[in-house]
Amino acid sequence: MSKDRIRILYTRLRKEEKLLAEASQRSGVDFTLEDVRDWVMPQEICGNDIFLCRCIGHLQNLEVARILHHAGARTVNAPEIMEICGDKIATSSILKKAEIPQPGFLVAFSRDAALEAAGRLGYPVVFKPSVGSWGRLLAKVGDPDMAESIAEHKDHLGPAHQVFYIQEFIQKPGFDIRAFIVGGEPVCAIRRYSDHWITNTARGGKTEEHPLDKDLREILCRVHDVIPGDFLAVDCFLTDSGLLVNEVNDGAEFRNSIDPTGRDIAGDVIALCSSLLKRKNLKRKEKKYSGPGTSV
């Protein structure tokens, strides 16, 4: 049987996956980089490999993780975390239940109800697709006429867009905050500056370190309590009344956060995967000595 390893799965090899491979190499752990477009699943899972799921498409990443999980493998992140993070409505609902501060939001299932929801939140509002990233298809809507147009357009974009997620617009102080959590521990944070109302490093913009102060740590730990992902990137707004959690990402891109913070984020993720690998091996040994049983 081959030696247990970290298997970094991808569909498009971004800078992040290369950094993860380099970090694995530096740490001396056995690893592979695997393009899942070459796979046919399900496949037999041997040993105690840790699967670091980094496919660029949310649905592909989720399904790969789901199949591996049900075959008994340990994935980073777990599929149930991907399900939550990949769906803004699920994320917001969980944050709401835990009373974690976030921008006001409403969900509607028809054009008319979407207009009513926007009016109830108060203009301007932001229409967001429930699934999507990189600031794609976000619309800042200033009045009922604009809302009507956006709702009509979305109505024609297919079923995924007929679930209307509408969020209160938060006036930012020129930046938002992106913080990383690895293995439950907040590791670093950056400010993302932009002249545009959308601050996303995938769309350009300046970054600098943001201190991991008590307030930020506290809200990050609260987020992790209810969305206990192995590796998360949490986006927050800083407002006069404190921090608001905007989004929680499970497939974080981090290339622009390393220089400003000096933090080896890829190294942190690989260290976590290595510890999971060791833990799995330990469990296997314990199982071996405690009597008959099958390891995955």
Partner: protein, 57 residues
Amino acid sequence: MKEQAICVVCECAIDFAPGTLKGEILVCPECGTELEVVCTTPPGLAEAPQVEEDWGE
């Protein structure tokens, strides 16, 4: 000698940096097309897939 592949759109020769891996995206310096490395030995490129609705973080 540097390994090279040909841009599938404009046929410009593109250098493969050492350590180039399958699945990486290169941008053609001549025509700006995003190209995906589909093979490293021998070097091969294809037009990169368009961004899908669920791509991202």
